[in-house]
């Protein structure tokens, strides 16, 4: 097994390193710093760390306010609370005025596992994607996280970055730095089917691709870490090189990565697509890996989706 680290941990380390480099970086937290790992920044730079207590709405708009003074706030809590408890605050007071606020949140998708539905964020990608001016992304491992967190600081405007609670295997070489918002990473090219995945599901897509290859199916894998802005150039190339696409996301299949890809292909190519993700349902408490199996997001489910697409075509 390769090395595994949660992307929240990679975020925490990166944020601390950035604190040294960027003196205008400040961090807002809603009483979960030891869990989101902003505690590392808090220890190193207490004067630039604001623990706002269990009050996400105030935190979000306070971050909007501080950004107007020229400081660059990273706002941290769990994805489900940021995207829904403080949804209007994000939409009207951060995105509408296009303020330079980075919403960097842990516990994305089913990764909070045993905590249950209240702590799982399975609609946030769809919600955030529908808000103008937002950049929405989820890195696939710690290497991509380090780079994208720093790039979020460097670009102007609001960013929603989603991390995992559970460890993710490292899939990229440690020295890879050329991650850019809105630019997908082609991990593998395939002639018959392409798996387009985001975040924690990229690893499972790679595993599924191995299985499919063994069965003689030429399979591509794309890490679509940014669902907005969507890398349409990449999607267009995939459509020209492959026969069908499976999207895979740790999110409701409505409105997230699958939604974005289907919208693009419906308007530009007649490419068969199948969406792997939560099928418009809530999950439950359970170990992350077991939840993926029960709710149809495992490597085996991805393989099945790919095979059913190809058999329909033949």
């Amino acid at each position: 097994m390769t090395e595994a680290i949660s992307t929240r941990e990679a975020f925490g380390q990166t944020l601390k390193e950035m604190g040294e480099k960027y003196k205008d970086l400040v961090v807002f937290e809603a009483d979960v710093s030891t869990s989101t790992k902003t505690c590392e920044f808090a220890k190193a730079y207490p004067d630039r760390f604001f623990n706002m207590g269990v009050a996400e709405q105030n935190m979000m708009v306070a971050a909007a306010g501080i950004s107007t003074t020229g400081l660059v706030p990273f706002v941290s809590t769990y994805a489900v609370f940021a995207s829904m408890k403080a949804c209007e605050q994000i939409r009207t007071f951060i995105a509408y005025p296009d303020l330079n606020v980075k919403i960097a949140v842990s516990h994305g998708g089913l990764t909070p596992g045993t905590d249950g539905v209240t702590h799982q964020a399975t609609e946030d990608l769809s919600i955030m994607r529908s808000i103008p001016n937002m950049t929405v992304a989820m890195p696939a491992d710690a290497v991509a996280t380090k780079v994208l967190v720093e790039k979020a600081y460097q670009i102007k405007g609001p960013v929603y970055l989603r991390f995992t609670r559970c460890p993710l295997p490292i899939i990229y070489p440690k020295d890879k730095t050329d991650f850019t918002f809105g630019k997908a990473v082609t991990l593998k090219k395939g002639k018959e089917i392409t798996l387009i995945a985001i975040g924690d599901m990229v690893f499972h897509a790679l595993k599924a691709a191995e299985i499919l290859e063994k069965k003689g199916i030429s399979t591509g894998v794309i890490d679509m870490h940014t669902i907005k802005p969507l890398d349409e150039e990449c999607l267009s190339q995939v459509a020209r090189e492959t026969e069908a696409v499976v999207t895979i996301e740790d999110n409701n299949i409505l409105g997230g990565l699958g939604g974005a890809v289907c919208e693009y292909y419906a308007e530009h190519f007649q490419l068969p697509v199948k969406r792997v993700g939560l099928k418009d349902t809530f999950a439950e408490s359970g170990e992350y890996i077991d939840l993926l199996k029960k709710y149809g997001l495992s490597s085996e489910d991805i393989v099945k989706a790919a095979e059913s697409l190809l058999s329909k075509e033949n």
Partner: protein, 277 residues
């Protein structure tokens, strides 16, 4: 309390009268908008822009400027008029309230209007934004103050109290809230829709300093702001007792005038009354 110059009061009263006239004109022209709460806030906002705020019209984004947030964003006509009269944008813009292509949105947009420090309109948000600005000042070692005007109805919102708690935590003695306490919200009297009293005690229990004034008395308005410029120990709220629709007889204390425009006859009467003052 320091002595207030009578001349200054007379000048500001004249200014506030002009502001009220422009408010009525723009809402009449647009045939939509919120006159009641604009008029109740008019004296205080006029004093802020023409005597208190340290701002530079030629540099709207000046880093050290005082900040003002009209959290009760629906009362933006009063904000727009003061900004225009101050010179942030041409007075002619005032005739383009709530129209396509104009900068003066139905509720204020900081990206469109020069000199406007925060987008508002959804209630209960401005104090949090003020907390962020005041924290920014502390973090950057800047001396500016942040003033946030709240509506009475809007402090029904729980987020106001989250913000109040956090202002105490961070000892924001550079943050001043002003409550436009006209005791009318959209659906009726505050005391009936959602009782606020004992209000001063509520804020005190959140560790804020509380000042109470008549929000239409220039001496009291100036006095409290001057005192706070000289010394402010804690986050402070000025509870300003006001009259909704102040200055137009048929609008005063009438809940109906929260959010509608006068017709031609009403418009003429309003202007006549305001000019006679």
């Amino acid at each position: 309390m320091q002595l207030i110059d009578n001349e200054k009061v007379i000048t500001l009263e004249r200014k506030a009268k002009e502001v009220r006239i422009e408010i009525i004109k723009m809402i009449y022209k647009a045939q939509s908008g919120h006159p009641g709460g604009s008029l109740s806030a008019a004296d205080i906002v006029t004093v802020l822009y023409f005597d208190i705020l340290n701002i530079d019209v030629s540099h709207p984004q000046w880093e050290k400027r005082d900040r003002f947030i009209l959290s009760k964003g629906h009362a933006c006509p009063v904000w727009y008029v003061c900004l225009a009269k101050k010179g942030f944008f041409p007075m002619q813009e005032l005739s383009k309230l709530r129209v396509i292509g104009g900068i003066l949105q139905g509720h204020p947009d900081m990206k469109k209007v020069p000199g406007l420090d925060m987008t508002t309109g959804s209630l209960g948000q401005g104090l949090s934004a003020g907390v962020g600005m005041a924290l920014g000042a502390k973090t950057k070692g800047l001396k500016f103050k942040t003033y946030v005007m709240l509506g009475d109805g809007e402090i029904d919102e729980g987020q106001i109290w989250e913000a109040a708690m956090s202002a105490n935590k961070f000892k924001l003695n550079n943050l001043i809230a002003i409550l436009d306490y006209n005791n009318l919200q959209l659906d009726g009297k505050c005391s009936e829709i959602m009782p606020l009293e004992p209000l001063a005690d509520k804020w005190r229990s959140f560790c804020w300093d509380v000042k109470e004034i008549n929000g239409h008395n220039m001496y009291e308005i100036l006095g409290v702001f001057y005192d706070l410029k000289k010394y402010q120990e804690k986050p402070t709220i000025i509870i300003a007792h006001t009259v909704k629709g102040k200055g137009v007889s048929y609008m005063e204390n009438q809940v109906d005038w929260h959010g509608k425009a006068p017709n031609e006859k009403q418009f003429k009467q309003a202007i006549k009354e305001l000019e006679a003052k």
